[in-house]
Each structure stands twice: as C-alpha cells, then as structure tokens.
C-alpha cells in the first residue's frame, strides 16, 4: 500500500515535469489591488454589510444581558470573559469537558468572541483563539451571539489575512447559514446557525 502510494507520487511528479518541457518563463505577479481600506467609517460599512446578509447587530456590551435573558441554555468557551455573563440566570454550559455534538444540539445559543472582522464583506473570522473555543461550539447551536471589539475590525480582506495564523483552524462567517440552491434565490437558515447576532463593543470602553 505504502509502496504503491510512493510510486504514484513519483510517477505523477515525473509526468508533470515532462509536461513542462517547454520551460514556461518565470511569472511576475502584479499586485496592484488594494491592500488597505481608506474608507473613513469602517464600522458603518461593517454594520451595513452585516445587516445586508441578515445578521442582527447590537451596539455596546449593555445589549448582552437583554439578549442573553432570552437564552435558556447557553454554550460558552471555557475562557469566556466573566463580564459578558454578568447577571446571566439561565443554564450555562462551559465546553469543558468538551460537549458532545448531541449535547451542543440541545442548547439554545452559543456566545463567543472572534479574531478579526472584515468590514468590506461583513465577514467574522474565528481562529480558535481567546473566547472562541473549538469549531463545533459555534456550529451546532442554532443561534450564534458573537462579540466584536472595534479594534478587531479591518477594512479589506488582505488586511485580515496578515492578522491570522494559517496553522489555526479558521472559520469565516458572513451572515447566518444560507443557500441559493433553489432557483438561485438566497434563503437564510440551513445547517449552520440560523441566527447570527453581533454585539459591537468599543475597544476603548
């Protein structure tokens, strides 16, 4: 089995080398595209884009207690900041020991932070870093409440990539789960969380 795999490898590489017998010339990649956003108000752009894709945006940490008061059973990563949960009276499920997929499916919502947010596309990026937990946590519960600090917001996608560690498992989220498979009309809500709520907090505060 191993021997066969090795020979397939060598044969494919040899075929590809033969295919390049014409020695194509080196390629200079032109990178004339924008790498930094010069829009003055990134946050307004972000809110517009999030709402365009049917995410619900709340402003300020004070919005959290009211939001969480509707949540009976809440999943959180083990390192969730204590002040996000201030006054929470529902059933709290920390992901330690790791909650099984079936257990996660029984919960009403998950509360996490994020790593970076791209204003231009309304994209929230999770990298399993602080206050985010592992990937299953933000996938199985039907409602995802995500806290975004304003200093996590960048304008364009190239700016976001420079802040990410490629070796971390990355999940990019742009609105709630959706499909365009029926007559190419976008319908929100399939397998991922059907509700995405963003709580924007000023990092100065």
């Amino acid at each position: 089995m191993v021997g066969e795999a090795v020979s397939a490898r060598d044969e494919i590489l040899a075929r590809l080398r033969t295919a390049l017998a014409d020695s194509p010339p080196p390629v200079q990649v032109p990178r004339g595209y924008r790498r930094v956003d010069d829009r003055p108000d990134l946050i307004a752009t972000l809110v517009d884009r999030l709402e365009d894709y049917k995410a619900v945006v709340h402003h300020g940490i004070d919005a959290l207690p009211r939001l969480l008061s509707e949540v009976g059973r809440l999943a959180v990563p083990t390192d969730v900041p204590a002040d996000w949960l201030a006054g929470y009276a529902g059933e709290l499920h920390r992901d330690s020991p790791p909650l099984s997929p079936a257990a996660l499916d029984d919960l009403d919502a998950v509360l996490t932070g994020c790593a970076v947010v791209v204003a231009d596309t309304g994209t929230i990026i999770l990298d399993a870093g602080p206050a985010q937990g592992r990937r299953a946590l933000t996938l199985v519960p039907d409602r995802h409440i995500c806290v975004v600090r304003t200093d996590q917001v960048v304008g364009l996608l190239p700016e976001a990539l420079t802040r990410l560690d490629p070796r971390a498992p990355l999940t990019w989220i742009s609105g709630p789960s959706a499909t365009s498979d029926i007559e190419l009309n976008r319908v929100e809500g399939v397998h991922g969380p059907r509700r995405l709520e963003v709580v924007l907090i000023d990092s100065g505060a």
Binding site: D10, R35, R135, S177, I182, L184, G192
Partner: protein
C-alpha cells in the same frame, strides 16, 4: 527521478457519451427546463454584476489571480512537494492518485480502515469527476451528499447540471416533488417555499451530521507553503462535515495549489463574487493537518492527476488548469443556457467544460465539445482568472477530427435557426465572435479575411473565403450573403 514519463489522460465522468448536439436535443425540446435555466442564469448574472461593479480594483485582482495560477502551473511539481511536506508536518497524511480508479481505491480503503460503512460528503467536483459515490457503493459504503443541490440531485437519481448549483435545472415545485417522493422524513404538508424546502433538508441531515464518523470533501484551494486546505460554502453542511467526524478525506486535483497563504487574499475576493454573486459566501473553512482537540484527528489528502498532466503539457490549453470552478462562464453562455449542463456529458459543463473535458481525455474522445460554443467571448470577459476560453476552443478544434465535428456544427446550427429569437441572438454573438477568431487569423496570415465564420455558421461557409465582417455591420453583411 530522471526517467521521462509521458503525461497521461484521465478517466471518470469526463467523457461525452453522445456528441454534444445529440445530447442537447432533449434539453432544447424541454420548455420547462429552458425556462428554469433562463430564470436562474439571469438571476445570477445580475447578482454577479452588482457585486463585481462595486469593487474598484476588480481588474487588478483578475490580473493577480491569472498570474498566480500561471506561476502555479509552471512550478507545479515543486509546489506539490512543498504542500506534501507542510501538510505532513501538520499531521495530515498525503496520498497520490494517478487516475480516477486509483483515487477511488484510496478513499474506499481509508473509509474501511476507519471502520465506517457510510460517509457524509461535501459538494466536490473532483469526487464527481472520479465517480467516487459509485465506487463507495460498490464497496458497500453509503455516500450521503449534504449540499442541498447535491442532495436534490442524489434523491432524484439525477446527475449535476451546473458546477455551483447542480440542481439548477429544477424549479421549486419539482424539488418539492422529489423530496416528497424520496425523503422519508419530509413533512406531509411540505410547501414549495425555498425556506420550507431548506428546513426539510436541515431536519433530514441533522442526525447524520451529528453521528458521522467519516467525511469526504474536495478543496477549493490547497496552500503549498502552509499545507492548508480551504473549502468555500454556504449552508454549513461543509462545516459539519469538516468539523464533526473523526476522519476527514479530501480529494484534491493537483491544479488546486496556491503558492502562499497570502495568495488567498486574491482568490477569496474573486471566487464568491464570481460564483454566487455575494461579497462573501456565508462560510469558509480552512484547516492545516490536525488540530488536537478540535475537529477531525485523522486527516487525509488525496492529490489527483487524472488527466491534469495532459492538460499541463499543452502550452496553449494549459490555462484551463487556472479554473477556480466559479461557474460564471456557464451563467453567461448562450449555448449553456439553451442546452443545459447534461448535454456536455462530463461533470464539467459550459464553456470551461468545452475546453477542460477534451483536454483531460484527449480531444479525440470529446471531439464535439470544442464546437459547443459560438466563440462569443462572454466567458472570457467574466472569467475571474482570465482564461481565454475562445482561443483554447479554436486551438482544440484544430485537433478535432473534422468531418464529425462539422456535422455536429451543422446540426446545432439548424437548431439555432429554428427560432427567430435564437437566430437573432446567434447573429449578435457571431458579430462579437468574429473578434477572437478574426484576430487569430490576422495574427497568423495577416489577411483580413475569414475563411470560416465563427461556429455554427462555419459549417456553411467553410468552402468560401469571406471578407472579415466589420464588427458593427455583421447583420447587414450576413443579410447580403
């Protein structure tokens, strides 16, 4: 290794069982199908145009995308070795498959080794190409498609007809009918509202996701310097498959490589806007080997040649390997809109299929496909990686055995002629179409004559030397002939 080894053509679902015009006949006669395709492609064209227009540096992104892919092609062997080393260092196991059958054997063996008799699948062109579901079934392993459109196609015992939306040929009423007939747990009062249909799919697949042990995916991109794989999706079925099972097997064509992680900044801007017409698709997942305690702990990558080395060997046709499967070229193609995806036989329909399938199999095996085009050039204009599809089509036609191809062109021409609207469209397209072909002849001969009109009119004019039409007066010129 110094022994020269010839590039090899591929196998699997990439051959047209029938010549294109014959295969297109039922679709052309099916008015419901034509209406579904017309509505869907018109919707997606408008959405794409809106989100592309709001990007001021779109052309710069296309230029970068095309150049990065050209660089990948010229350095493919070394980048594959680099990818293998990075992915292996991160805990993945990398396998190599010369052709479809070998790729299927590897996936079947890995699934059996994991002790599973079923797999959940993320939509993937590569696994369609190698006919993996059939191979799994033959080995007693059930394969469940989880993408909504793939699920519709699978339940309907049909084959995909579009790269992005495999069920594009069905409308909502037809989808409801398939669900009621084949989905045991579909609600009795299921309506044909897209939201209700999506809800039914969610309920149907939920338990399967939560208990699946093996998932099979493709990848949109494979990053050489980090060993990262990327899957772009909408519904969350991809995240379910890529996150919950213990074993993850990804089948990846060797052309999917990008040199660096930074290169994603180009392609993740080009792909969503070109494919679903969104600024960004709802979900993109990236993983690099194994992350302890998070996601699959048994991660495999199967790198597949299956004819790609043969495509690489042709310097003119090589850019077909740049394709990122966005499907924008299908959505603007007048021939695709009329003939539908099934007429192309191969899993790759539309303009990209017309150049990729014949190159993967060798032109002799797919000789009618390079003629499944009016050379209007719309595909080239929308292609995010600037593949000059008309130029490659002309190049491939020169390799096709001529008499049957001419007959094929003749038949499609008569089909086009049967409707005044089609005819007007063909003329409009032919006018634009004289562009690439005319330019090509001018380059070669320096003459302002066109020995052959762009297909399908070419079948009528091949014996005459015609003056090249002035672009703006093609219709008048044609009227005088």
């Amino acid at each position: 290794m110094s022994r020269p080894v010839a590039p090899a053509t591929g196998s699997g679902r990439i051959r047209t069982p029938l010549p294109f015009p014959t295969a297109a006949k039922p679709a052309v006669a099916d008015t419901q199908l034509r209406a579904n395709l017309h509505r869907a492609t018109r919707t997606i064209r408008a959405k794409r145009a809106r989100v592309v227009d709001e990007v001021p540096d779109w052309e710069a992104l296309r230029d970068a995308g095309a150049a990065i892919k050209a660089d990948v092609q010229r350095r493919l062997p070394e980048l594959l070795e680099q990818f293998e080393a990075s992915a292996t260092a991160a805990g993945a196991t990398v396998h190599w498959a010369r052709d479809a059958a070998e790729a299927c054997r590897i996936v079947v063996a890995l699934t059996q080794a994991a002790g599973a008799d079923e797999v959940v699948k993320v939509k993937s062109m590569a696994t369609q190409e190698i006919e993996l579901n059939e191979a799994l079934e033959a080995a007693g392993i059930a394969a469940y498609e989880t993408d909504l459109a793939e699920l519709i196609v699978q339940l309907g015992d049909d084959t995909p007809s579009h790269i992005l939306v495999p069920a594009i040929h069905y409308n909502r009423a037809q989808i409801r009918e398939i669900f009621q007939r084949r989905m045991a747990d579909a609600p009795a009062d299921l309506s044909d509202e897209p939201a209700a249909l999506a809800e039914a799919a969610r309920a149907h697949l939920r338990r399967r996701f939560l208990s699946a042990r093996v998932a099979v995916s493709g990848a949109n991109f494979a990053v050489a310097d980090t060993g990262t794989l990327v899957v772009v999706e909408s519904e969350g079925n991809g995240r379910m498959c890529l996150t919950l099972p213990e074993t993850l097997i990804s089948v990846v064509g060797v052309e999917k490589l990008l040199p660096t992680f930074t290169d994603l900044e180009v392609f993740l801007q080009l792909l969503p806007r070109s494919s679903t017409g969104e600024r960004m698709n709802p979900y993109t997942s990236m993983w690099t080997g194994v992350t302890p305690g998070d996601g699959p702990q048994d991660v495999h990558v199967v790198l597949v040649d299956n004819g790609r080395s043969a495509v690489l060997a042709d310097p003119v046709g090589r850019p077909a390997l740049s394709c990122i499967r966005c499907s924008a070229c299908l959505n603007v193609c007048p021939v695709y809109e009329r003939a539908g995806g099934h007429a192309y036989g191969s899993v790759y329909p539309g303009p990209i299929g017309a150049i990729l399938s014949p190159q993967l199999t060798g032109v002799a095996d797919n000789a009618s496909l390079p003629y499944a085009s009016t050379l209007c050039g719309a595909c080239y204009d929308v292609c995010p990686v600037k593949i000059n599809i008309p130029e490659i089509l002309v190049h491939l036609r020169q390799q096709a055995p001529h008499p049957p191809a001419e007959r094929a062109a003749m038949r499609v021409l008569s089909w086009v002629m049967r409707s005044p609207r089609r005819w007007a469209a063909a003329l409009r397209l032919a006018r634009v179409g004289a562009g690439p072909l005319g330019a090509y002849r001018e380059r070669r001969t320096g003459a302002r004559t066109l020995r052959r009109l762009p297909w399908p009119a070419s079948a009528w004019t091949r014996s005459r030397d015609l003056p090249l039409p002035a672009p703006q007066t093609f219709r008048e010129w044609w009227g005088k002939q």
